[in-house]
């Protein structure tokens, strides 16, 4: 622990949670849950979905004058929600974001580079001790890196461009203790869906989730990102993980050093503690049209599927595809009339898939490869499902209309369960 924290702790009336400590650092004063503070984010990310509106707000804040951001080196723009299939209007919105980034030396992830959240983690922006905000709700993903990651709106992003700061209320925390080791065919996505089932879609509203327990040692970074990512589906402000050997090794691999690990104090107050024995968990599935409408996959009625979607900031990473391919190649086929869509979360994931022959394998099986990015996740680009189609997806949301057609049904499951459905053309049991 560094001196800054040791000093603060002497003045603190009580032990603090990880969320309280991370935001204290960002506000440069000791904070506890319930306080509202002005925080300086280490990085703020915007997407083509949120930047154009932020630039409108900024223009109003500056009364029509144009100037660069307060701290351009702390801002990242990601053009991930739209591509050439999104139409002329979207491309104009995107061009506005690109022009502003280029004019003011802002790091730009352009179309085809991948999903902004994935890139923030791949490129070393997400690192222990930091505050990262994203004008997109799945900025909670960064919590896997022992930093505070949370979603903001376009006006918040404009405020950060204007003065480098934003207001945040310090959340209280729910502790999630993970115990045990995954059974074969069960993974982090099943834990995330199980948490939605247990806590429900609003069960962690205004709160941070702090993951801990002996089971963490069995969760790699991809697993942790899934849990941090989907924390927001429970309403959480952040999903936080400690700094441990798994994270340290990963940071080493991607070349991030000089980090400040932040640890919750041993007696920190939690509003609630939930223990999950991940070894007893079976594959889960969210039925339409709610992420917390979750049952054991084995209890689902037999349901034929039309589309299997493998991608997004939740389920579009290398290991997701390796696990799916293992099942698809063992069966040697994708069921007739099932469309499997593969949208890698980033260009580097796609390149790794090329190198390892995974792209060839997916192609050989008849899967449809899409360019890295958000893809069909929220109906803003890529293939839109047809009316009455049933989609099983490795994504995070299944709201009615989420993929661009209110008459389609979206089921959420792990990449493994999605691949099984691709082989059988269906999931669940005959009545």
């Amino acid at each position: 622990m560094n001196d800054e924290f040791r000093h603060e702790e002497n003045d603190m009336p009580r032990p603090r949670t990880m969320a309280e400590k991370l935001l204290s650092r960002a506000a440069n004063r000791p904070l506890v849950a319930g306080e509202v503070a002005v925080c300086k984010p280490d990085y703020a990310m915007g997407t083509d979905g949120s930047i154009p509106m932020a630039l409108d707000y900024l223009g109003e804040m500056l009364e029509g004058h144009e100037r660069g951001p307060f701290a351009p080196d702390r801002v990242v723009f990601a053009l991930d929600h739209y591509d050439s299939t999104s139409g002329a209007g979207a491309l104009l919105l995107q061009a506005r974001a690109r022009d502003y980034a280029q004019a003011h030396a802002i790091t730009l992830f352009d179309v085809g580079d991948g999903i902004g959240h994935q890139l923030m983690m791949e490129r070393g922006h997400a690192a222990p001790g930091r505050l990262l905000v994203g004008a997109d709700s799945h900025a909670t993903s960064y919590g896997a890196f022992n930093c505070f990651g949370t979603g903001i709106g376009s006006s918040d992003l404009a405020g950060i461009l204007f003065c480098g700061a934003l207001w945040l209320e310090v959340p209280s925390s729910i502790r999630i203790v993970l115990d045990g080791q995954f059974a074969p065919g069960v993974g982090a996505k099943d834990v995330a869906l199980y948490l939605a089932r247990t806590l429900d879609a609003g069960g962690a509203t205004y709160k941070a989730l702090e993951f801990t327990g002996p089971g963490l040692a069995n969760l790699d970074m991809d697993d942790r990102i899934v849990l941090a990512n989907m924390s927001v589906e429970l309403g959480a402000k952040a999903g936080l993980f400690p700094h441990d050997a798994v994270l340290a090794q990963h940071l080493d691999e991607i070349g991030v050093d000089g980090v400040t690990a932040v640890t919750a104090d041993p007696d920190a107050p939690y509003v609630h503690t939930l223990t999950v024995d991940i070894g007893r968990l079976r594959p889960q599935i969210a039925l339409p049209h709610r992420v917390d409408n979750v049952i054991d996959l084995a209890d689902a009625p037999r349901t034929r599927v039309d589309v299997v979607y493998l991608g997004t900031c939740t389920g579009g990473r290398l290991r997701d595809y390796a696990e799916a391919l293992e099942i698809l190649t063992a069966a040697g086929r994708i069921a007739r009339d099932v469309q499997v869509i593969v949208t890698p979360a980033s260009r580097s994931i796609r390149e790794a898939m090329e190198r390892t022959g995974m792209i060839e394998q997916f192609r050989g099986l008849g899967a449809q490869l899409e360019s890295p990015g958000c893809g069909a996740c929220c109906g803003t680009c890529g293939p839109i499902p047809a009316a009455n189609q049933k989609i099983i997806s490795s994504a995070n949301r299944n709201f009615r209309g989420r993929m661009g057609n209110a008459d389609a049904e979206i089921y959420l499951a792990s990449p493994v369960s999605c691949a099984r459905a691709a082989v059988e053309g269906a999931f669940g049991q005959e009545a």
Binding site: V36, S50, M53, Y57, G153, S155, D156, A158, G202, C381
Partner: protein, 169 residues
């Protein structure tokens, strides 16, 4: 006793977990982010014809977790441009709540129970505290921290930052 009206309108009722894609579908905003155009699409996936049926100032009354899902801020500004004066809900998703405060959209966090459609409603500041009149009933919503109330009453983050040049806490 001071009493200042902040919002007034007739009630439209929604249930729990109304997400921002239900308020306005994400795919609608790829063509334009002009709330004057997008307001025609509010609630179209769950309540077709909602916008056309609106008559004058309206206050939404909903259940738990209103505004969950995507953090898209347009979900707040389309409601404002459609004439929604305030949203009453048992609880709000946090990104919707901050976007509402940052745009000066009045929120009342309170469990309003059963409310008939078209009930007249009024939100006011009574001796500095938020109060909600629903028909004959008087409810006390959760009080917003002074800092958030200051931004809300400034009309949102734009006028707040313009006035102060930065944040004042």
């Amino acid at each position: 006793m001071s009493d200042e009206t902040l919002a007034r309108g007739k009630v439209r009722v929604f249930g729990d977990d109304i997400n921002t894609d239900y308020i306005v579908p994400s795919h609608r905003k790829k063509r334009t982010i002009d709330p004057d155009l997008l307001r025609h699409h509010i609630f179209e996936d769950i309540c077709a014809g909602f916008y056309e049926e609106l008559e004058g100032p309206t206050i939404l009354v909903a259940g738990r977790n209103f505004g969950c899902g995507s953090a898209m801020e347009i979900a707040v500004t389309v409601l404002q441009r459609a004439g929604i004066e305030a949203v009453v809900a048992t609880s709000f998703a946090r990104t919707f709540k901050r976007n509402a405060i940052n745009n000066g959209l009045l929120l009342c966090e309170v469990d309003a129970g059963e409310v008939p459609e078209d009930t007249p409603a009024r939100v006011c500041l009574r001796d500095g505290a938020l109060a909600l009149e629903l028909g004959e009933r008087l409810l006390s919503p959760a009080q917003l921290p002074a800092f958030m109330l200051d931004i809300l009453r400034s009309g949102g983050l734009v006028p707040y930052l313009r006035r102060n040049g930065g944040f004042q806490i």
